[in-house]
Subunit: 436 residues, 2 copies
C-alpha cells in the first residue's frame, strides 16, 4: 500500500540505526581525539559547485534538478566542494592548519547493481594549510585510529600508501613523457582488474616503447621503499621524494601505526585530484572494497575556485566498514536498551509506578513502565523483551523488589528515600554486586 | 568565485555545528531515558509517499523532481509517512507500543522570508499502538524533559494543551454541526492572528447563528479545566472526555511536569491530523514561534496507507529551540576543545613530540601538536587559540612541564612512564588540583 524506499536508499530500523551510531560514534571520538572539529553543509547545493571541477566523472551520476525558483541544484555527491566554499568564505579568520571533519550523507545515481547504494554516509576528515609531510602522517594515523577504536587490528586492515610525486619522477625516469602521464595513471589504476597484455597494448597505443612499458611494470612492482631507494640511490631528481617518504614513515612509527602500512606504488586514486602521498585502507583478506581512501590534494581547492592552499584528507564510508565489522563479529551485540523496567504488582497504583519511573529518569537512567494495566508476569516478560537490565517490582507506595534479569538476583528496597531525594545526580540507587 | 549555499540552507561552521550537536545530544539523551529508540529513513522518498495524504497543504512546497530512472521523488518534508511505511512493513514483528525517535533533516520550499529556512532538523518522537492517555502524558513529559535537560525551566517554557475530542463535544453542544466543524477549527486556528469581527463574519458565513458564534467564543476562552468541568457537570456526552483529561493531568503530576502545563482549548494544530490531546511548547514570554507541537493522531497511519493503530507524537525543530537557548544564555560557552597541546622546546625532537601526543591519545585524550617546527611562544599561543586546557612542554626525551593555561600553574613531569605504559584506559596522567 505504502511505497517502499527508493532503490539504493536505506530504511534504518533500530537495529541498523544502532550499528550506524556505533560507527558514527567511533568516527567522532577519534576525530576529536586527533583535534579535528566538526562542520557540516547543506545536502542540496547549487549544481555549479560540482560542475566547476573539470574532468569529473561524477557529473553524469548526480541527482540534479531545477528547484521552484529556477535554480539548478544537486544532492551533494561529495563534500570537498562544500568544504572549499566554506573555507574560502572565511579563510582569513580560520586558525591554520584547519583540521575539520564532517559526516555527510552523499548521493550518487549509480547504475543499479546488487548491493550498490545510491546514498551513503562518509566521514570526511581534512587538514588545510599545511604542506609538511607531518600532516600526511597525522591524517593516516587518524584513519587507522578509527580502525583500532572499532576493534580492528593490523591483522584485519592494511593501509596501502603511494606517492604521486615519487611515482611521477620514476615514470619520467622510465621514459614516460608529461603528455603520456595521465594515460599511464589510468592504466596503473586498472592494474588489478585487467590482464597485463591489455594494459601493455594501451601503453603502446599511447606511444610508449616496449622498453618503456617494461620499465613501467618494473617500477610498479615495488613494495619495499628501502630497496627502491637503494636502487635509485644517487638520482638527484628523486632525492627529495625519498627523504620526504622516509620522514613520513618515521612519523608513522612515532604515531604507532607503522605496522599497518604497506608501500605500494600502484595505488593511484582520483587522477585529477591528488598531488602527493595517497593511501587506501582495505581489509587484509581482500574480501571487500576499499574502506577508506585519501591523500594530498594541494591544487584542488584553487581548482574548485577556492583558496590556493595545501590540503589533504580522506573519505571513509559507512557501508564497507559496516560489512567488515559484521564479518569480523565487531558489531556490538545489542546493548541493554533500558536500565529499569518499573512494574506494578496488584497493590501498586498507576501513579506510584510513574512517580518512581520519573525519579529514576531524573538520575539519567533509561526507564520504561507499562502504559496500561497488565498482570505482573506479562510486565516482566515485556521488560525482558525490551532488554531491561533490572525490573523494579512495586508492591505499594513504600516497598518494592529489584530483580536483575540476567541472573534473577533480587533485593527488597524502600521507595520513600528515592521519591523524596532532591539529588538528581546520575546514579543508580540499587547497584548490587555483579554475580559472575 | 565559489557559489554560496542555496537561499534557506545553512553552512554549519564549527561554532554552529557545536550548537547543533548540543541540541542533538539533549534530544538523544532524553529520548533514550524515556525508553525511545532511534530509527532513520531516506531523505529522498517516492513522491507518492507524501501525496497520499489528501488535503495536505505541503505538497505545493515540496522539493520534487524526476530522477534519472523516471521516478517522481521528493526531499522529505516530514517524517511521519516514512515512519508509517517502516512500521507497516514490520508491524507484526515490532514490540508494542512502538517507542521510536528520529532526527531527520526536513525540506520545504517556503516562500522566501527573512530568517525562514528551507531545511531544518526536527526531532520526531512517537508512540504507536497505545490508545490510553498514559501515553499522551508520557509523550509530553519527554518533550518537557528535553527542555529541562537544556537548562530551560517552567518560567521559560509552557506547554499549552487541548483535546480535540472535548472541543468537538463542546462545539456540538454550542450548536455547531458536523459539517461546520472543519471551518470552525480553521477559525479557531486563527484566533490570535485575526480580529474577532473577521472571525465572527466567517462563522456567520458558514451558517452559525449569532448565538452559536457567541457560544463558540465562550467555549474557547476556557483555560481552567476544573471550572469548565463544573460548568458542564452532568452533561453525559462529555463525561468520558473530562475523566480522560483529569487522568491526564494526574499523570502529568506524577511525571513531575504538571506545573509547566496550561489548559487552552484554542490550540488546534493540523486540521486533518489530530484526534485527541494536542499540545504546543512555546516560550513563556511569547517571543518566538512554537518550540514543538504534537498530539494524538489515531487515524493517520491508516489514512497514509499504513496500519490501523492508535498513535501519537511530536516534532521539535532545531531552529526556534536554538534561538531560545541563545536568548536565554543557555548555549554552552565554547567547551575546551583540547585536553593537551604538546609543544616541543628547542631540545625536543619532532619524534618525541609525536610519541607523547600518541600516548596521550591512547588514553582517549584530545591532543594536538604543531605540524611544523615553531618557536615555543608561538606554540603556546596556538595552544591557547585552539582552546587547549593544558600545554605539555617537552624539553627532551625524558622531561617535560605541564602548564594549565587557565591559571598558568606548572608542574615538572617525567615522560618515560607515560611512553612505556601498556595501559590505554582513559585517564589523564597529569591531573592536578583545580585552583579556584
Amino acid at each position: 500500500m505504502l511505497p517502499s524506499a527508493l532503490p539504493g536508499f536505506r530504511d534504518f530500523y533500530p537495529a541498523e540505526c544502532a550499528e550506524r551510531s556505533h560507527i558514527f560514534e567511533a568516527w567522532r571520538e577519534v576525530a576529536r581525539r586527533f583535534a579535528f572539529i566538526e562542520y557540516d553543509g547543506p545536502p542540496l547545493e547549487p549544481l555549479d559547485l560540482y560542475t566547476k571541477k573539470s574532468g569529473d566523472e561524477i557529473v553524469g551520476q548526480l541527482y540534479t534538478f531545477e528547484d521552484r525558483g529556477g535554480r539548478h541544484v544537486a544532492l551533494r555527491p561529495e563534500m570537498t566542494p562544500t568544504l572549499a566554499r566554506m573555507v574560502a568564505a572565511r579563510a582569513n579568520a580560520l586558525r591554520k592548519p584547519v583540521r575539520w571533519f564532517s559526516i555527510p550523507q552523499l548521493f550518487r545515481y549509480e547504475r543499479q547493481q546488487r548491493g550498490r547504494l545510491r546514498e551513503h554516509f562518509q566521514l570526511n576528515l581534512d587538514i588545510l594549510g599545511e604542506a609538511d609531510v607531518t600532516a600526511d602522517a597525522e591524517l593516516l594515523a587518524a584513519a587507522l585510529g578509527i580502525m583500532s577504536e572499532l576493534g580492528l587490528t593490523k591483522d584485519d586492515v592494511r593501509a596501502r600508501i603511494s606517492d604521486r610525486r615519487l611515482l611521477n619522477g620514476l615514470l619520467k625516469l622510465a621514459g614516460v613523457s608529461n603528455e603520456q602521464l595521465p594515460l599511464v595513471y589510468a592504466v596503473v589504476d586498472k592494474l588489478d582488474r585487467e590482464p597485463r597484455e591489455v594494459l601493455e597494448q594501451k601503453l603502446g597505443a599511447a606511444g610508449c616503447s616496449d622498453l618503456v612499458v617494461a620499465r613501467i611494470f618494473e617500477v610498479l612492482k615495488h613494495t619495499d621503499l628501502d630497496m627502491l631507494r637503494s636502487e635509485f640511490h644517487g638520482v638527484a631528481e628523486l632525492r627529495d621524494d625519498f627523504s620526504r617518504l622516509a620522514r613520513y614513515f618515521e612519523m608513522l612509527e612515532a604515531l604507532g601505526v607503522r605496522e599497518w602500512v604497506v608501500f605500494d606504488l600502484s595505488i593511484v586514486r582520483g587522477l585529477a585530484y591528488y598531488t602527493g602521498i595517497v593511501f587506501e585502507l582495505f581489509d587484509a583478506r581482500g574480501e571487500f572494497r576499499a574502506i577508506a581512501g585519501g591523500g594530498r590534494y594541494d591544487n584542488l581547492l584553487a581548482q574548485l575556485g577556492g583558496n590556493e592552499m595545501p590540503a589533504l584528507g580522506f573519505g571513509m564510508g559507512d557501508v564497507v566498514l559496516g560489512e567488515l565489522l559484521r564479518a569480523r563479529n565487531l558489531m556490538p551485540p545489542r546493548a541493554e536498551a533500558l536500565d529499569y523496567w518499573v512494574a506494578g504488582a496488584d497493590g501498586a497504583s498507576e501513579t506510584i509506578v510513574i512517580r518512581v519511573a520519573t525519579a529514576l529518569r531524573r538520575r539519567k537512567l533509561r526507564v520504561e513502565y507499562p502504559l496500561r494495566a497488565q498482570k505482573l508476569p506479562k510486565q516482566i516478560k515485556a521488560a525482558a523483551t525490551a532488554g531491561a537490565a533490572k525490573v523494579l517490582i512495586i508492591h505499594d507506595d513504600r516497598t518494592a523488589t529489584v530483580r536483575r534479569l540476567a541472573d534473577g538476583h533480587e533485593e527488597s528496597v524502600s521507595l520513600p528515600d528515592l521519591l523524596e531525594a532532591s539529588d538528581d545526580s546520575p546514579r543508580d540507587p540499587w547497584v548490587f554486586a555483579v554475580a559472575r
